[in-house]
């Protein structure tokens, strides 16, 4: 997990679960083309928790949603790049990755919820208010684990039951489930669903899963709803879990428990996690590596302790300095000067130069790339580039005070 893993040529065993390369997601608006995500690249190593940190509107959610192709395509445009994904088989046997942005819809339906799962920010909004919990968790099994639902039959289950396990039973068949020849089978399927859903819920340490199953979302607390979401997400043992600010909408006390739960289940299921958050202290507790995002770009990537102890990018430094601490309880809170730039048709310049204390003329002319130079973590800042490579005078290179501020 040290140093960013490089993408092996297609066809070789991969230590990566996913690799985002130069991802560009734009939105066509009346005011112009918003470059919400503009050339983002990072890898997710098998079994790690990668934190994607940044302030509101920096494109972290858009990046995450692109994995499952959830961006509505007008107004959104996948303007470039690719997201490669290696499922379990591809990683072990060494198969070719799937490009999530190009995969046909049928393949995406199979990947969603099965190979890549997602937890949303507000569990109160992410559950259907009109369906009992049981049905919402069972959905995953109907979609992806039909065989598992049909285990334990003597001989082949009747066709109608097989269809019901894939949620394709017609109205007439559903009526037929209420009368003798099929009734016992239907009951058995129902028990099987209860069993699997109950297990999935129990794994999230939800109290009294049987009772929860029969409830509607409005009868549960926020923490319980988020546990239901986690149960739903992890019930298929996905290769990658995308957690889009899963604790933001919760109380601080519940946050810690949910965080522990995610960490715990991640260990047990050997799932890789892309953890999106704007809360640095949370990310620090849970993530192995961190990618800092700013205005549609990655500012820097590194192991958690590296980023926290030796932040490279001026933005990361500002961000860390802005975290209030007990050391200075009085006085003004530190903040980064200025505001996030407009992302409509951005100029060819460092996205941060307007707010950066170290910016030189070079920063407003040339866009720094997230360049992994030998012996250095990837960081998109001219302060770490060589004047020679850029072909500019040495004094144009901004000089940073290397101490973490």
């Amino acid at each position: 997990m040290t140093a960013p893993a490089t993408v092996p040529p297609d066809g070789k065993t991969s230590a990566l679960v996913a690799s985002v390369q130069d991802l560009k997601v734009h939105f066509e608006t009346k005011a112009g083309r918003v470059h919400a995500v503009d050339g983002v690249s990072f890898d997710i190593v098998d079994g790690e928790i990668l934190g994607l940190v940044g302030e509101t509107g920096c494109g972290k959610s858009v990046t995450a949603r692109s994995f499952l192709r959830l961006i509505p395509t007008p107004p959104g445009i996948y303007a470039g790049g690719r997201i490669q994904f290696w499922d379990k088989e591809a990683r072990q046997v060494g198969g070719a990755p799937i490009d999530l942005l190009q995969a046909p819809t049928s393949e995406m339906l199979d990947i969603r919820g099965n190979r890549i799962a997602m937890i949303f920010q507000d569990p109160g909004k992410a559950l259907n208010p009109a369906l009992p919990i049981r049905e919402q968790v069972a959905e995953v099994f109907y979609q992806h684990r039909t065989e598992e639902l049909l285990e334990g039959w003597n001989g082949k289950p009747p066709l109608a039951i097989r269809r019901a396990a894939g949620e394709r039973a017609r109205l007439l068949e559903r009526v037929a489930f209420k009368v003798p020849p099929l009734r016992s089978h239907a009951r058995r399927l129902r028990r099987r669903v209860d069993e699997l859903v109950g297990d999935a819920l129990a794994e999230t340490q939800i109290p009294n899963p049987r009772k929860i199953m029969a409830s509607y979302p409005h009868e549960l607390s926020g923490g319980m709803k988020q546990r239901v979401m986690i149960a739903q997400a992890l019930s298929c043992n996905p290769d990658l879990l995308i957690a889009d600010e899963p604790t933001t909408a919760l109380d601080v006390t519940i946050q810690a428990r949910i965080l522990e739960l995610i960490r715990d289940l991640q260990h047990r299921h050997q799932t890789s996690v892309l953890y999106i958050s704007h809360d640095l202290s949370l990310v620090r507790r849970i993530c192995d590596r961190i990618a800092v995002m700013y205005a549609g770009r990655i500012a820097e990537i590194g192991e958690t302790h590296e980023v926290f102890h030796e932040p490279l990018h001026p933005y990361t430094r500002g961000l860390l300095a802005a975290v209030p601490s007990f050391a200075h309880t009085r006085g003004e809170l530190a903040a980064i000067e200025g505001t996030v730039p407009e992302l409509i048709d951005p100029p060819d310049a460092c996205r941060f130069h307007t707010r950066c204390a170290f910016a030189t003329d070079l920063c407003s002319r040339v866009d720094p790339v997230l360049d992994a130079r030998p012996g250095m973590r990837p960081v998109a800042c001219h302060a770490y580039s060589s004047a020679q490579a850029l072909g500019v005078a040495t004094d144009e290179i901004p000089r940073l005070d290397r101490r973490a501020s």
Partner: protein, 308 residues
């Protein structure tokens, strides 16, 4: 917390759970609806009228082959209310007003249920396609709906029924053509609102197909205003339907309130008020009751007032 993982006896399976919850939710809604006195009055009138419609063959045993045709008592023309055998009086052609009132309620019930059934299904289907598919499909469907909405419903229904000729079936057809658009508009608006909810994304994340998402996530969360509209339309349809039959677009002699009003209207100037006033009052009661009840239902179910 940990003991929760232990298996628990669960004899009736989860199906009874949600059902019980649904029943509780229903009781809760019912309690809220009936707390409002005007809604309660509406409901009482509705129950009475529908009860009358269902029990019509018991209350007024028909002695003619077609019970929906008014029986004629040629021996008692223009009998005032209170006459023995004709408590509500008779019309100029010997039709018993009470019989017309009782069997008229059955006609009204038939008419409103058929029309509401057709328009609700058709309107919901078309509106759903517009809202869920969106884009050009939505645009085209909604422009067609706009055309329908631009014509006043009574005049539109009248034109259709008049072209097709006088018959009860044609009235039902005309009403169906006119009334589906409201449902289409309502459900479309609801679906566009509901489909941007995060739980729809969350269903997509699971890998659910579009139709399943529509069936399980979008539609159930969109139907409430349709139910309210259906209740209101139960009243409006009878109002418009009675108007059409008053003009003479139903078969002559049909036991229908509008027909009775038109039969009796000639006698009003000569003081024979009963033959048209009583059936007219029935139309009024019917429309009033469903509107009172529908308004009360809306107050409870409307998303804007939800979550107080």
């Amino acid at each position: 917390m940990v003991d929760a993982a232990a298996p628990q006896p669960f004899p009736t399976s989860a199906a009874s759970g949600p059902l019980a919850v649904r029943f509780r939710r229903f009781l809760e809604v019912a309690r809220q609806v009936l707390r409002n006195p005007t809604t309660l009055i509406g409901l009482i009138i509705i129950v009475t009228l529908i009860g009358m419609a269902l029990l019509a063959p018991v209350i007024m045993t028909p002695n003619v082959p077609d019970p929906y045709q008014m029986p004629r008592d040629w021996g008692a023309l223009n009998a005032p209310p209170g006459t023995v055998g004709h408590p509500f009086g008779t019309t100029a052609t010997g039709g018993d007003v009470l019989y017309g009132v009782v069997w008229g309620s059955r006609t009204s019930l038939r008419m409103s249920i058929i029309v509401v059934g057709i328009t609700m299904v058709v309107g919901t289907a078309i509106g759903s396609i517009a809202g869920f598919v969106g884009g050009k499909v939505d645009e085209v469907i909604m422009r067609i709906v706009d055309v329908f909405l631009a014509i006043p419903e009574l005049i539109f229904a009248l034109a259709i029924a008049a072209v097709l000729g006088p018959s009860f079936g044609n009235i039902i057809f005309a009403l169906s053509v006119v009334f589906w658009v409201k449902f289409a508009r309502i459900i479309r608006g609801q679906i566009i609102h509901v489909k941007h909810n995060e739980y729809v994304d969350s269903a997509r994340v699971i890998g659910d197909s579009k139709f399943n998402i529509y069936r399980k996530d979008v539609l159930p969360n969109s139907v409430t205003p349709v139910v309210v509209q259906a209740t209101l339309d139960m009243g409006n349809i009878v109002l418009v339907g009675a108007t059409l039959s008053f003009i003479g677009l139903a078969e002559a002699g049909l036991a229908e309130w509008g027909v009775l009003v038109s039969e009796g209207q000639a006698g009003i100037s000569s003081g024979r008020w009963w033959a048209s006033t009583i059936p007219g009052a029935m139309v009024f009661l019917w429309a009033l009751a469903f509107n009172l009840f529908g308004d009360g239902l809306r107050d409870v179910l409307d998303p804007r007032t939800e979550g107080r």
